[in-house]
Each structure stands twice: as C-alpha cells, then as structure tokens.
Amino acid sequence: MSLARRIIPCLDIDGDRVVKGVNFVGLRDAGDPAKLAARYNAEGADELVALDIAASRDQRPTFLETIRRVAAELAIPLTAGGGIRTVEDARSVLRAGADKITLNTAAVARPELISETSLEFGVQAVVLAIDAKRAGDQWVVMVRGGREPANRDAIAWAKEGVALGAGEILVTSMDRDGTKSGFDTALTAAISSAVSVPVIASGGAKLPAHFAEIFTAGRADAALAASIFHDSIQPIRELKEFLAARGIPVRLPC
C-alpha cells in the first residue's frame, strides 16, 4: 500500500478565461475555467492547479471570482497562485476556495513570505513554485513568469524554501515547458532527492510514457500538465490505467 502518484491538470488563468501558450508566450484561449474544472473533477484528476498568469492588481477581483467558480465545481483539492505577495493575498485566495497557495516571484524577492504564510495557514497549504532553466551543469531560478533570471540555484532554493516552511515544491522546467518533449527528469530527480517534501513536476508532458518516466526516474510525487488535458489529447483515466499497468500506484476512480 502506498500513496498514489497524483495527476494534476493546470489552468493558466487570465481574468475569467483559461489560456495557454508555448514557453510562457503566445497565449490563446482554452476555455471556461469552471467547465474545465467540472470535467477534470469527473474524469479522475487528483487535484487542480489554477494560476493567475496576468497577476496584475486590477485583475485580482476577477481572478478571485474565477477561483470561487472553480472551487464550486470540485470535490478534489485546489491549489491557486500567481501574484501572491502578502499573507493577505494568500488569505483571499484560500478564502475564495483554494486549499493551497503557490508562491513564486514574491518569495524569491522576500523569502520570509514562505514562513509567514506557512505559520498562518500550515505547511500543507504552501507550495513553492520554482521555474528553473538549465545553465551549464546546473539550473537557475527564473522569475516574473519565467522572463527574468534570479541569482539563485534552483536546488539550493528548493532546500531553502522547505527549511522556511514550504510543504511542497512545484518545479517547472522552462526548457521543456510547452515543447511536449517530456518532463525534465534530471531536474525533477535532483530536486526530489534534495528535499523532504513532495515534488510536483511540470513542463513538457505529452505521452503517457513521459508520466511513467517522471514518476520513476524523475522521483516525482505528482505530475502537472495543461494543454494535453485541455485539448483532450490525453484522457486522464487512460493515462492512469497506463501507469497502473506499469506498477505505479494511482487512484483509479470507480
């Protein structure tokens, strides 16, 4: 008996719509967030992530309303983030119906945000999102939607984040994101081996074999993808049956 590996569809949200793009650019509309959420809830997704990719102050009320609409459709956990800079930002997202928040750019700028939010809401509610890009034989942290490099090593940052109170790490490979060439196994395994908390792998998924690889060689506890689920290229149930047949523990809804 063991903890099931999780399959997590991700909704990149711009106001009241789900959008998608390649390498964080070239966004296009991918549907209504609440409708997609209801579909994933029924299809056996283990959790949902919703990210405010606009993350602008004036769009915030729209995003929170979207979170409310999404949460209303779910009987599975919801993680939401994008643009969370303060404990109060985190509270409003959790009060709107999210179970966990993701911290990214603001935590790099002010790491105490991780301890402040985990003290207030519990470590299980704080996910540190790291956008990592390969630079020689290491990975550097990227911020501001993956556009700017921060002067930090991704693995060292993951460790520091956990020490400060992050209960989970969501690691996105900027090299693989949107390429559909598979998760970055080396990056995910390096982070998963370095920290004591669960790690969610993100960026590059297309084939069921990519998921099998990230759960074995990549040591991921969960795997996240967006467009292959939105476009129904990869039905979740079929993906889970593929993983179960390879001995990877997954939750198969009855």
Partner: protein
Amino acid sequence: MKITLLDYGAGNVPSVERALQRLGAESQRAATPECIAGAEALLLPGVGHFETLMRALDDRKLRAPLVDAIGRGVPFLGICLGLQALYFASDEAPELTGLQLLPGRVRSLPPVVKLPHMGWNRLLVKQKSLLLDGVDANAFFYFAHTYAAIDQGEETMAACSHGIEFVAVLEKENMCAVQFHPEKSGEAGAQVLRNFLRLCA
C-alpha cells in the same frame, strides 16, 4: 437537522459547506459558545497548526461547550485537525492541551517518508465502521498532514500507513473523526459525509 460548522477563523469551512450542500444538508457557521450549546450536530473542520486551532477555541471560549456537547451525545464529526484535537495533546504544540476526550498524544509521522503526507491513500479497515458503510475497500481518500494519532484504540475503525500506521477513522458513540478530508475526497468522501448525516438524522 442542521449541521453546525465550527468557524474559528482558520480551516476549510467553505469547502466543507459546499460538500454538505451538494448532499442536500443544511449547515450554519458558528463561532460562539451559545451556538455550540444549542447545536443539533457539530462538525469541526481543520487544516493548519494544532496551536492555531486550540488557541482559537480557547480565545472564543468554545472548548467547554464543545466538550459538553460531545458528552451529551450530540453527533460530532472532526476532520483532519478536528480529529487530532480530540486527543490529550500534540507534539506540534506541546505546551497546549487538546480536548482530552481520547488518551494519547498526536505525534509527527516519521521522517523516513516525504512529509507532509500529501495526496490520496487507502485505508486499512480494522472494524466495521458506520462512516465507511458503502465505501469500496480500495477507495482512496485525500490526506494533507504531518502529525497524526499513532496510538490506536478500540475507537479506531480504520488506519492508514505513511511511514507508520496511524488513526484514519475513529468512532466512539456519537463522536466520529477522520484524518483525511472527506470534502476533498471525491465520491468516497461524499459517502463518508452521507453516512455521518445518517447518524445525525
């Protein structure tokens, strides 16, 4: 029958409310001793830190009315931290006392596994349980916690294992609690809540 949800400022009250609504149950939030004293059925949801929960109960003077209500036989369901609160104390906040309705301490799961215990896991059923009536033996439930009640007693209906076995479902007369989040556990979780509603009726 109306379910009274203890709203102490933290916790996952809106998710629990929505889950009850979907099952057609009426609920109301409560944060005063009077509301608890008059409740027909009580639900203590909880996520976060043991200290936050116990301090909130004490600051709002909810501890005594809650213990009284459970003692009087009012149906009670504790969720996650709401299960841990029933014990004597927790290593998460050793200077505070729990509700002391069950002996034993809440302790950390061992660091030989990834913590928090976060995600979907199965149960090891120990006894015939009212809360698990009609639930598939292989069903998964959603957990999100680091601390757990390790000492099993005659009230332990089901355990779960993550590094070590711990109490996942307990029932002692009108007092019920689960370590997982039924409100986040899909159809299996909905069945657990339905069974609790049946106990209340």
